[in-house]
């Protein structure tokens, strides 16, 4: 929670300084937007946990929600389905991009291979681990 609070205060500030010192470029704007977005999510969790820390009952409810086996099962199923849909979508986009733009094609092709490699590595890791 401390790390989250520090992140919420410092990193967006640094991004704002960077944005205005470098000038309004696409990359500084994107960095600012991304960092602010992450800070908003972190802030949400910081507030949620700070709120929960005030009462034993709220901590217990939060703990149950976090460790609930159905929620974990849903998360696992969601992650598995999502990554396969993403992989298929990027593969399709790669195919389409091959007719229009060489740079986009190679970028998407690299992304497809990277995702496939990560899926394969994770499968190998969990086969050995479990």
């Amino acid at each position: 929670m401390i790390i989250g609070s520090v992140y919420c205060c410092l990193v967006p500030l640094l991004a704002i300084v960077l944005h205005f010192s470098v000038g309004e470029t696409l990359s500084s704007g994107f960095t600012l937007g991304m960092v602010t977005g992450i800070a908003a999510v972190v802030l949400f969790f910081v507030i949620q946990y700070a709120h929960a820390l005030r009462s034993e009952e709220k901590i217990r409810k939060l703990y149950i929600a976090e460790t609930d086996e159905r929620n974990q099962y849903i998360q696992n199923r969601c992650a598995c389905s999502s990554i396969l849909i993403i992989l298929a979508a990027i593969a399709l986009a790669t195919l389409v991009a091959s007719y229009f733009d060489r740079t986009v094609f190679y970028t998407l092709l690299t992304a497809t291979y990277c995702i496939a490699l990560i899926i394969g590595s994770c499968k190998l890791y969990y086969r050995k681990k479990l």
Partner: protein, 72 residues
């Protein structure tokens, strides 16, 4: 998987929330178990059975997994 959770709960006048808190899951998990949308893990099945003072086989119905000779 069929279970007697709803029946046992009603007999003992226990709410889903109370059972969920006792076994450390959310109320939605108990609902899913009762409507047979979700199958409990071995640990959860054990906790629920223990809560009702019964065995896992008494709470959960494994007959669907057995053939006509009673084999799995």
């Amino acid at each position: 998987m069929k279970s007697k959770i709803a029946q046992l709960r009603k007999q003992r006048r226990i709410s889903q929330e109370e059972l969920a808190n006792a076994v450390g899951v959310t109320r939605q998990t108990i609902t899913s178990l009762e409507v047979e949308k979700y199958t409990a893990s071995l640990i959860l099945a054990y906790k629920i059975a223990k809560y009702f003072g019964m065995t896992i086989e008494e709470v959960f119905d494994f007959s669907e997994m057995e053939d006509s000779n009673g084999k799995l």
